[in-house]
């Protein structure tokens, strides 16, 4: 919190640029939102810092309320800054978000998460807590934040953005789906044939070590050759660049966590449980489907979670070899030195990874025997 306070005063809250090309000019918090705003923000931060000093549950709850209110107020701060700084002479002006704002946002989020764990708020209540924050952000973004550079970047290519998000999700989904089927099959085969186990894990470990950029590169040449020389491959739309190498590489990376978790999950089911199921007269297939699989499911889902999060990030790299998706915005933005375009690509990827992580984590917790119902 002290760090946030320092950032609040010292660092530039926002930057203003006359247009897209000119680099932004920093504006300190004081100039951006005026005395009243600064005072209110400082008071809120001080309150949290003081409440955290001699902790007890009541103080924690109060601090939590203050942090949530702060999170709700942050977009309003931006809106206020936009209103004060907007110049009617410059309709092209853009408002960038400065480091000061990022630090405050980050620290406040951290404080909220920390308080949430300390108070032992359940997952569902945690989401309810986020609801007003999301609502307030959405409201401010749609009503008052028109000059925000990020938003202008978005408006310029909203169709592209939507299709990029969908494409990104489709690639991730296809990769995770394929590797789920392949991974489970491989894990089952490994259980049946122990000799396969060593070789299989060896190959998968080897694949995992190869850096993503290198693997994409190495796949490019053979796929281009295949597309050029084998007719049915090229009619499928497989080419050296594009979705084909991306999908293959994604599946290759996804297999290790998937196979490892499935294998471990199936192996660690208590033999006593299997024994008693057999004793009840269940057939092999029944034992597998009704006992082993349900017991192994949480750990397998953990594998799906790791794989999904990993694939969301790797798909961004795949944009380099022409696979499209949100990574395209990142690299396009880096190429044009347009940082808000980079953010437009990076923030949704981050959000997707966090949401996928939270959802699948919650699902596997729920499926755990004796877990929260």
């Amino acid at each position: 919190m002290i760090a946030a306070l320092v950032a609040w005063f010292v660092a530039d809250l926002v930057s203003v640029a006359a247009n897209r090309i000119v680099p932004g000019e920093g504006v300190a918090t004081l100039d951006a939102i005026g005395w009243g705003g600064v005072l209110a923000g400082s008071l809120a931060m001080l309150a949290v810092a003081i409440l955290g000093f001699r902790p007890n549950p009541r103080k924690y709850r109060a601090a939590l309320i203050v942090t949530v209110t702060m999170l709700m107020a942050l977009p309003a701060v931006l809106a206020l800054a936009a209103a004060r700084l907007a110049d009617s002479d410059m309709p092209q002006a853009r408002l960038g978000i400065g480091p000061g704002f990022w630090v405050v946002l980050f620290v406040t989020l951290l404080a909220m998460i920390e308080l949430r764990t300390r108070l032992g708020v359940s997952r569902l209540n945690g989401w309810v807590l986020m609801l007003p924050v999301v609502l307030s952000w959405w409201l401010c973004l749609s009503l008052w934040l028109a000059p925000l550079a990020l938003l202008q970047e978005f408006r310029g290519r909203s169709d592209q953005f939507v299709s990029a998000v969908l494409y990104h999700l489709a690639l991730v989904g296809a990769a995770v789906g394929t590797s789920l089927v392949l991974g489970v099959a491989l894990a089952l085969a490994m259980r049946r044939f122990p000799t396969l186990q060593r070789a299989g894990f060896g190959v998968l470990n080897f694949l995992q070590t190869i850096p993503s950029l290198a693997l994409f590169g190495l796949l490019l040449a053979p796929l281009a050759w295949l597309a050029a020389n084998v007719e049915w491959v090229s009619t499928l739309g497989v080419r050296g660049i594009g979705w084909a190498p991306a999908l293959i590489a994604l599946v290759a990376y996804s297999l290790l966590p998937m196979v490892r978790n499935t294998f471990v999950a199936l192996s660690q089911v208590d033999p006593g449980v299997i024994e008693s199921a057999r004793g009840m007269g269940m057939s092999h297939v029944q034992v597998f489907l009704q006992v082993r699989l349900p017991l192994a499911l949480p750990v397998m889902l953990e594998g799906v979670r790791i794989t999904t999060v990993q694939a969301i990030g790797l798909t961004a790299v795949a944009a380099l070899i022409g696979a499209g998706g949100l990574g395209g915005f990142i690299f396009q933005g880096l190429g044009q030195a347009a940082m808000d375009l980079v953010l437009l690509g990076a923030l949704p990827i981050l959000g997707m990874a966090l949401v996928a992580d939270a959802l699948l984590g919650a699902l596997s917790e729920r499926l755990r025997p004796g877990g929260a119902k």
Binding site: T209, P211, G313, V342, A353
Partner: protein
């Protein structure tokens, strides 16, 4: 010890390090002798005039790559291990949940996003990459060090303290040696990810082994891409197999 014994030990050491050595030899051979392979690459990329990447020689590229990765990894190891030790001591216990939370949540951040977000703050060039690698590389090290230190049975610590060891002695002679394999595994993950992410640094203006790949993609020159990809792949394999051998050795002792 007689001569025979020395020979035997040398042989065993050689056999132990066989795999990393093999990768290292391949990597060096490729670094020095890339030009010799021109005919091979010519066959891959028949149309282009230039088939060997020549904007910088491969020794320089490899050197820069190694420099960035090793600076970031060394700092990450130092900071990560000491941070994890600090929060497992009595005085720093308040921060334990916070640090553990950051370490596990941060790992869901994709490296590309971290790299991309570092650029607006730090600018283009080598420095932002080192900082991004450092921040990202911290997470597995912190997490594994925490897991290693917390995984030690309390009765062992009790016994060590009962023998009259001071806090520092327990840390140095009991906790760290016991946690070493797990910590080493964390460093291994961190370095492997760093090598891969550093290659992406070529897109934000750092010149390293990612360069041939990026310029190959831009110019449509498959030979460049292959050269860069082979080098990075071999580098990753060399480093990873070295770590693997190190871990095996620690356990077998």
């Amino acid at each position: 010890m007689n001569e025979h014994g020395v020979q035997w030990r040398a042989n065993r050491a050689l056999r132990h390090w066989r795999l990393p050595l093999a990768w290292l030899v391949l990597l060096t051979a490729l670094t020095v002798g890339m030009a010799e392979l021109e005919s091979v690459f010519r066959w891959v990329e028949a149309d282009s005039r230039q088939v060997i990447y020549d904007r910088a020689d491969f020794v320089t590229l490899l050197g820069r790559h190694l420099l960035v990765v090793s600076v970031a990894s060394l700092l990450a190891t130092l900071i990560g291990v000491s941070a994890a030790i600090a929060v497992t001591r009595h005085a720093g216990q308040d921060f334990l949940p916070l640090v553990a939370q950051i370490a596990s949540m941060g790992q869901t951040f994709p490296p590309v996003a971290v790299l991309a977000l570092a650029v607006p703050v730090l600018g283009f060039g080598t420095l932002p990459i080192i900082v991004a690698l450092l921040l990202y590389g911290l997470l597995p090290i912190v997490r594994n060090t925490l897991a290693g230190l917390q995984g030690i049975e309390p009765s062992i610590l009790e016994a060590a303290r009962g023998m009259g060891m001071s806090g520092g002695q327990v840390l140095r002679q009991v906790e760290l040696p016991l946690a070493a394999p797990v910590i080493l595994a964390g460093i291994r993950t961190s370095v492997t990810v760093s090598i891969a992410t550093a290659a992406l640094g070529a897109t934000v203006g750092a010149s390293n082994l990612g360069d041939p790949i990026i310029s190959g993609i831009v110019n449509g020159n498959t030979a460049y891409i292959l050269q860069g990809a082979l080098m990075i792949g071999l580098l990753a394999l060399t480093v990873d197999s070295t770590f693997e051998r190190l871990t095996v050795r620690r356990i077998s002792r």
